[in-house]
Amino acid sequence: MPENKTTPVEKAAVKYKTGLLVSNSPHMVTKLDTKRTMLYVLIALVPCAVAATIFFGPGALARILFGAIFAFLAEFCYDKIMKKPDTTGDLSCLVTGTILAMNVPADFPIWMLCIGCCVAIIIVKCLYGGIGRNIANPAIVGRIVLLLSWTSYMTTWPVTNFQKATVDATTGATPLGLLSDGTIATTPVSLGQMFLGNIGGALGETCTLAILIGGAFLIWKKIISPIIPCAFIGTVFLFALLYYGFAGAPAGYNAFTMALFHVLAGGVCFGAFFCATDYVTSPIMKRGKWIYGIGCGAMTMIIRLFCSYPEGVSFAILFMNIMTPLIDRYVERSFYGIAKKEKQEKAAAKAEAKAAESSGKEGAKA
């Protein structure tokens, strides 16, 4: 008899591991969760914060920090009061607060910013069911509420630290304001200064260079798809090129420089990289992203050129946010051939009904 023979008694003594965890595959998941995604967005906003501090002084930085803190507190208090699980851990409230703060002038009253944050977080996000359920970008709606409530505060822009040396004033106009007033020809703005951010405007959106650095970081980390920013900025550029090509550019500019002017002015770049790419309120599929980006760009230019507001990025993004479910549905139906199939089915049913009708008539004749 070989030695390794096990009697039934010994066999029972073998301790099998039972009651192991049984779950469905896959058994491993990525580390890139919602929290880390939001952290990357916050990191991408750092260049903008640095640029804002350089151009507008520590007040700008203070407003960014206050925006983040107010947004965090708003969500925290809402969860506590409504006895809901604490959702501040995913950091999305910090992103909303920071982006909202970057959309206001550098000397904006802080209590107003607080109200903007509360509107953004509580009304736009939490009341709709928290992250993932909101129909519009909270920061954009917060900005629009502030703009409509305190229009003069939201449209009085302090001059940058570098402009102070040459200009003897504390507030200045934005390039788009000059364009809207028709005074752009008398006080031309250099495109280089606009690219660097040495112009009036909301504290985070003036420095295109910083925005591009942040945007490139997000695209490199695969947090955002480049489609929306490209479609958005490309549409603004083309729209302006065609418009000024036909209508004629103001003195000192040609159609090409005016197209660049529109891309660099106002919140186009900031909106394209940080606001329009908000996951929740932008389409999922590639084709939808193109439609959405082009829509944002076209709406922006329509508002800028034909409406009474000098700036239209936030309204354009809000408009396309609301259109997103429609775009998603349209793209889904065309991509998977659902619409085509339904059409064929309808045609087949119609033909069948017709055949039945004619055979019925024949039957009646007979």
């Binding site: 070989p2 099998y16 389409p283 199939k341």
Partner: protein, 440 residues
């Protein structure tokens, strides 16, 4: 799959090929083996032995007349202790033949099969007990006997091994390279396929080089090595066919309909060996890995050995195991007890401790669309999940849920850790159920 793409979308799930450089070790014969009678997709076998019978290694112990089946052979020599019923990893109650090994490993006399025509090849393939060893366990002889045999022009030998952790196919390629080439050539001969490809992910450069060298040395004309991107899920049959031939293989379409047969590399190597020796499939190379295993390694184990015995051979548990997988972490099956025994189609046993096995908390969907971007077939897992939760069978059908091959890429990339692949499975089951009811 509307736009023509060079590569289907894939994800980077990490490789963790910790055991790739270790020579395969042969496990000593365990005291008792329990050989399942349900080794393949299709009909289970009926045991041909009874309590008290003496069996030799390689002796036929189970077979059936049902079409979709393969015979089962004993992996040890010894006495049959009895026929048992036990709950299997799949959840069903399966029949097991329990054999007490005498340690002598007396072998049934075998001779190399004589093959003169295609039916003889198919007969030999069935007699060998071969099933798809990549994990699907589909009877190979059925796959190699398609109705449109004349249309078959391509054989793809699948050595992608895209699942993290698993290296058993890699070791097969390095250690049994000649068997792989012989098997592939025999398969191509009897399929009358003009082209053969050995598809290997480019993280196994030594295997690619080895095959290239051997093919040149032996002057094999129509067999080529096809390097794949080292990403998940390049080894999935439908993805592999697209990558190698550019043909689009939708769900429900047999690869044979496109003129392609895909064979796992271990199956191919086994077939090469079988045609030389006539020894049926009774032992299998496994990767044993995971943070709970003391000495991760590749081992050659007898089919029917318990997971417990296999892990004991690898130094036992280093930490308390919380989850044990049969197969890789992306598509493998979690088993509830290490009393489960090794099946033919197993290629890995992974044991993870509590911290590795923790299931992350599910949070709200943020509509980021990464599941859609990760899907090789451009499906919309998040919408499947919504449609499943609303029990909307029509929407599931419209969005082509049946195209999902359950690779798990969507669940892997989801930042909210939603069990999307699981919901796709449930959605598919719901559509199948509805179709069944509609037919009644």
């Amino acid at each position: 799959m509307i736009f023509r793409k060079k590569h289907l979308t894939s994800i980077d799930a990490g490789h963790y090929k910790n055991t790739a450089d270790q020579q395969t070790e042969v496990m000593p014969v365990p005291a008792v083996v329990k050989i399942s009678m349900s080794e393949n997709i299709g009909a289970p076998c009926k045991p041909l032995v009874k309590k008290g019978d003496y069996v030799k290694k390689g002796q036929l112990i189970g077979d059936t007349d049902a079409f979709l089946s393969v015979p089962i052979h004993s992996s040890v020599s010894g006495t049959v202790l009895g026929i048992e019923t036990m709950r299997s990893a799949m959840g069903g109650n399966d029949t097991y033949v329990v054999i007490e090994s005498d340690g002598k490993q007396e072998e049934e006399e075998t001779t190399a099969p004589v093959i003169e025509d295609q039916p003889a090849f198919i007969k030999a393939m069935r007699a060998s007990g071969l099933v798809g060893l990549g994990g699907a366990s589909f009877p190979s002889w059925v796959k190699f006997n398609p109705k449109n045999l004349v249309d078959i022009d391509t054989l793809i030998v699948n050595g992608a091994e895209c699942e993290p952790f698993i290296t058993s196919d890699h070791r097969t390629m390095l250690e049994d390279a000649q068997d792989v080439l012989d098997g592939a050539q025999a398969m191509m001969k009897w399929l009358q396929a003009e082209n053969g490809y050995i598809a290997i992910e480019n993280n196994k450069q030594n295997a690619i080089d080895k095959f290239n060298k051997m093919i040149v040395e032996q002057g094999i004309k129509n067999l080529h090595v096809f390097p794949l991107q080292a990403r998940y899920p390049k080894g999935a049959e439908r993805v592999l066919i697209y990558e190698v031939t550019g043909k689009q293989c939708d769900a429900g379409v047999l690869p044979a309909a496109l003129g392609v047969i895909v064979s796992n590399i271990t199956s191919t190597a086994f077939m090469g060996k079988y045609l030389k020796t006539g020894k049926p499939l009774t032992w299998k190379r496994l990767t044993v890995d995971g943070d709970a295993v003391a000495n991760p390694k590749n081992v050659l184990v007898p089919i029917g050995a318990s997971v417990h015995d296999v892990i004991e051979f690898c130094g036992g548990y280093k930490k308390e195991p919380r989850k044990i997988l049969m197969g890789g972490p992306m598509m493998g099956r979690a088993i509830y007890s290490d009393e489960q025994t090794i099946l033919k189609a197993n290629n890995a046993i992974l044991a993870f401790s509590a911290e590795q096995a923790a299931i992350p908390e599910e949070t709200a969907c943020i509509n980021c669309g990464r599941c859609h971007e990760a899907c090789p077939f451009d499906l919309l897992p998040t919408k499947f999940a919504d449609a499943y939760q609303h029990k909307d069978v029509q929407a599931l059908r419209d969005l082509q849920v049946m195209q999902c091959m359950e690779c798990g890429s969507c669940s892997y990339v989801c930042p909210a850790h939603r069990p999307l692949a699981f919901m796709n499975k449930l959605g598919k089951a719901m559509v199948k159920e509805a179709d069944k009811n509609a037919r009644k």
